[in-house]
């Protein structure tokens, strides 16, 4: 069991400061996902934890040990890379045992660990093959195995599934989750730009933007109660629908935007608000109702229908702006129709237009 603690970490490349005063506490056994677009500093953070780049400031603790100045090999970590990074001139088995041989692990112990990892990952039949003779999925398994045999408590994943095709990615994603459950005590830090991976795998997600962790919470909270406008817009596909407007006072606060008006009685406020405040309202496509009692009913024109199998995305126009609505797959809504929509206030997200913070 090992927790990971990042304290006031600073990293810069030349004069460009990628990370500044970054704090992150990862509990032992936790699966944490660093989610963000490319260039947000998530991979930099991971490499800093691994000890693969020089840091400017702060400390990194793994378990009860300050590893800030430790070599990568002595930090008690295993790492899996996007490009697999298998040693091309060695067999799969050679790849697994390379680090152990360098660490002068006894032969029978090496055998035991290779057996354990290859059984867990089902790669025994391919142990004698070179990486060039393996498929993408097999290569990534071997790469995961190389981290497993190190017998460490902390695993670092740098976009491990991004080079795989969609089908394989889904399969390996499930396997990764299973692996984490089976290992039980392993702490995993996983970098990805894929929000589905983040939502499905993580115990907690850290959404990063411009070197700053925007929100660190469970997938459920990240998705349903985004802390700010960035997180709200980044997570979810299709995007959350946004409308700018202001809060007016008419027997209690009411949101008023272009062609849209929603009384805010029952909105779970977490921050103060005042009449006249400029705000941005966000509502996820699946939270817009088309059946039953339509609270805050508005009527929109259907512009485009995207059937996706289990669900259908309906693109509407409301007061000149596009709005996406997620409905069931069997829906018979056709383009050109007029569609009554309901905006349930308890599903609404409000953000301050200036600060972007959740209200």
């Amino acid at each position: 069991m090992a927790s990971v603690s990042i304290r006031k970490l600073g990293v810069s490349f030349g004069s460009f400061q990628v990370l500044r005063d970054l704090d992150l506490e990862v509990a032992a056994g936790e699966f944490i996902v660093l989610l963000g677009a490319s260039g947000c500093g998530k991979s930099t953070l991971l490499n800093a934890i691994a000890g693969l780049l020089d840091i400017d400031a702060g400390q990194i603790w793994i378990g009860e040990k300050n590893v800030t100045w430790e070599e990568p090999a002595h930090r008690g970590i295993g790492m899996v890379f996007q490009s697999y990074a298998l040693y091309p001139r060695m067999t799969a088995e050679g790849n697994l045992t390379f680090g152990l041989k360098i660490a002068r692990v006894p032969r029978d112990e090496i055998e035991r660990r290779v057996k354990f990892a290859s059984e867990l990952l089902q790669i025994e039949p391919i142990l004698k093959r070179r990486p060039a003779e393996l498929s993408g999925g097999q290569r990534q398994r071997v790469a995961i195995g190389r981290a497993l045999v190190r017998d460490v408590d902390v695993f670092l994943f740098d976009e491990p599934l991004s080079n795989l095709d969609a089908k394989l990615r889904t399969e390996l994603r499930v396997e990764l989750k299973r692996l984490h459950q089976r290992l039980g005590k392993a702490t995993m830090i996983y970098v990805t730009h894929d929000q589905i991976e983040a939502l499905t795998l993580a115990d907690r997600i850290a959404v990063m933007h411009a070197g700053v962790i925007q929100q660190l919470d469970t997938p459920h909270v990240i998705y349903h109660k985004p802390a700010n406008r960035f997180v709200a817009g980044f997570v979810g596909s299709p995007n959350m629908n946004f409308r700018t407007g202001r809060i007016v006072d008419a027997d209690g606060p009411v949101f008023e935007g272009k062609g849209i008006r929603i009384p805010l009685a029952g909105y779970p406020w977490i921050n103060g608000h005042q009449a006249g405040q400029e705000v941005e309202l966000g509502l996820r496509p699946e939270h817009i109702a088309i059946h039953g009692d339509l609270a805050n009913r508005h009527e929109a024109e259907v512009e485009l229908v995207e059937p996706m199998g289990p669900e259908t995305i309906v693109w509407c126009r409301l007061a000149g702006e596009t709005l996406s609505v997620r409905v069931e797959g069997e829906s018979d809504i056709a383009a050109g129709a007029r569609l009554p929509l309901g905006f349930p206030v308890e599903r609404v997200n409000l953000f301050d237009a200036q600060t972007g913070l959740r209200l």
């Binding site: 691994a50 693969l52 070599e71 890379f81 490009s83 990074a85 091309p88 001139r89 190389r146 190190r150």
Partner: protein, 312 residues
Amino acid sequence: MTAVDIAVEGPEEARATATRASEPRGPKPRRLSIGRIGIYAFLLVSALFFLVPLYIMIVTSLKGMPEIRLGHLFNLPAEPTIQPWIDAWLHACTGRDCNGLSPGFANSMKITIPSVLVSIVCASINGYALTYWPYKGANLLFGLLIFGAFVPYQVVIYPLIIGLSTVGLFATLPGIIIVHTIFGMPILTLLYRNFYAALPVELFKAARVDGAGFWQIFFRIMIPMSVPITTVAMILQVTGIWNDFLFGVVFAGRSYWPMTVQLNNIVNTTQGVREYNVNMAATILTAAVPLAVYFISGRWFVRGIAAGAVKG
């Protein structure tokens, strides 16, 4: 024309074939265009340009002197003889010594083999360190090294003579090996650095996480992957050092004059009869080693260059 004829006269199937023939279908037919003829003509002329002199050299080297004096340059030898080759190898005179080229061949071997090995070992370590273990001023050093590739050799010869003679290595075998290693360094380091820079850096990171150090990563990961680029470096160095004349004549000293210098001395002998057949044989013998290297490893050479080009 024929298509139309068949279509009119032929039965059902023939008409079907006719339409199929006129419609684009299957592999596109290749036609010999004027451009293509031009290309082949150019290739042919280029090949002749290099092969005709070689042909003349070979036939001349197989003729006796009386036959050469007749002046029929292109004729095949009427009485083929390998005596000129034997003379060139064992008996041709360079100044006072008449031992042929064989001592030069031995000298060239003694110079080329260690020079190639030492320069490749140094350059690969250089390229590896510059790529993966950057230190303060590494880029400046690399820039200076590359600049070295553009310095004309003649400029540095005199300072090098002074330097080597100060440490007592002028006109010795180690001296010439050092000179070749130094002059091979810029281009070889560039070659290796670019090769290593084109490898995925994650490979290096993975090895770091596995606990491998500077030399372990170099020997266990990088060297096994360097076969293509080492083939290229080897060919460059073997041909470059074998064909070298300038450094050999200046730095090797009389007792280690390489084959090229001895060839020059044989061919440019001013006294006696000019033995064209022996000269031709001696020239071919001297050029044989680089030629053999190209023929044997040319395939890998192209592959290595291409591998570097695509990845870089």
